[in-house]
Symmetry: C2
Subunit: 267 residues, 2 copies
DNA sequence: CAGTGGTCTAGACCACAAC
DNA sequence: TTGTGGTCTAGACCACTGA
């Protein structure tokens, strides 16, 4: 048998996708691969490492060996719409009972703002801004958690110094609406990224699982100009969570529509 | 100097984040790391490999060495709302000019449906269903592209056999609305995943870039029951794209709201 | 204790592109 | 031609945990 690490990995990948190796099944050990393919130990090891990086396999320490990873079958869908109860606004009923993770604390500091958040706030990248960082999650399911960074626009802090307080309680959206005397317009932008080691460890992410990132902006009109008063940067496991929205119909797409003059498969 | 691969990587990571090493700058070569840290070549190599996996560094072949990766600064935000022009429905003005990638073709086949799509359609996983696969993108920007799989519910195919045709033109949403005699309700669920090697190569994804996945369902009411007539599974680079929605206010969150009885920092 | 993967050293050869 | 990273072989030692 010939064999490079990538070839061996492709072979095992194939067997997993065909269902020949099922979640929980033990993969061949390094020694077995060395014998089967006539390769060095490092090469066999590299093949298994590739599958782990892809999130297809995981290691059970000690005598457990490498097994096909059991992927979570039920992803938690977080429907995104603003709701409100006696406590104030919240986004999505499924996280209403979430709490700050025990052993962690909400931190309020002033830090240079990263470029992407700065662009949304309309300030220069690196400007020192008030940021409130915390990690919260489901008290009963250890891995259902998220990191949240809340960046405040300097004009909002100036008008509402209470927002920069280190209190864990916020009611921040009510304060902003009282100040602006109008409803906030919320937008969410969703993307994904490879977690930094710190994020992976805080969110208990296994290798190969990306970060799902939801960036929410709260916009009000001040002096006839739109102002992004806050940017809320939420990161969570892309394997455990998804976010959902209902699409609105705009312009000519409002029902009832006029017939299209030609057929076109939309993108 | 002591040094393990992870320590060396952490050191370089730190220098990148501090801005001491900027995008495009050359990282130390393996030989330099060997000398500086007194480690073996493989160890130095592993440190650089870690940074590449994280998407922080990339290799410039030949004499180029390993450099700090230039991350795209401007991500294309795709605002999600249904629009309509003379051709029919489309979602988001920014992709109106996209076309099928030259050299690729739309494929219409019947295949066993994967579990997550099956759950949305309300059929058993593995049921053979009609699926239309294609890759389209911006004719002018090579890497602005996406993969789209459109899975049809068997009841929709039965009522509208034309949907299973291999024509590249669809007008699929108009056909479904004509059949159901009512507007489609569209929902989108967003998540992310590590790309398979096939997806990475089709979408030209560098190592360390996750897949952003948008799953759109088209729901109509047939015989007084909701029917998901189609599931549209869209995959794109999480580094180049993000998707955006405006949050709706539901229930008690409709403006004007009543004051909250207590302050609570929403999640 | 024995079997598992993880990591390091040491050295060889290869592919690639800038010089 | 030469410097760059990529991959393979070969062998050593470590940490972990189930038997």
């Amino acid at each position: 048998m010939a064999g490079t690490a990538e070839e061996i990995a492709a072979n095992l990948r194939e067997r997993i996708h065909r269902g020949e190796l099922r979640p929980g099944d033990k993969l061949p050990t390094m020694d077995q691969l060395v014998e089967q393919y006539g390769v060095a130990r490092q090469t066999a090891r590299q093949a298994l490492a590739l599958l782990k990086q892809e999130g297809l396999a995981e290691y059970r320490a000690g005598r457990g060996g490498t097994i096909v990873r059991e992927k979570p079958t039920t992803r938690m869908v977080r429907s995104r719409a603003m709701e409100r109860d006696h406590m104030g606004y919240y986004s999505g009923a499924s996280v209403q009972h979430w709490r700050v993770i025990p052993g962690t604390q909400t931190e309020v500091t002033t830090e240079p703002v990263p470029a992407d958040v700065a662009a949304l706030l309309g300030v220069d990248a690196g400007t020192p801004l008030v940021v409130r960082r915390r990690m919260n999650g489901d008290p009963d399911i250890e891995r259902h958690r998220q990191l949240t960074d809340s960046w405040l626009h300097p004009a909002a802090v100036e008008a509402l110094p209470v927002l920069a307080g280190s209190s864990g309680l916020g009611g921040i959206y009510d304060r902003i609406e009282e100040w602006a005397e109008q409803p906030i317009v919320w937008n969410e932008e969703i993307t994904a990224a490879t977690p930094s080691p710190a994020e992976a460890s805080a969110l208990l992410l296994p290798p190969g699982v990306p970060l799902l990132r939801v960036i929410r902006t709260s916009t009000v009109t001040i002096d006839r100009k739109p102002l992004v008063a806050e940017v809320n940067d939420i990161r969570m496991s892309a394997e455990l969570f998804s976010v959902a929205y209902q699409l609105s119909r705009r312009g000519a797409a409002r029902w009832p529509v006029r017939p299209a003059s030609e057929n076109f498969y939309e993108s």
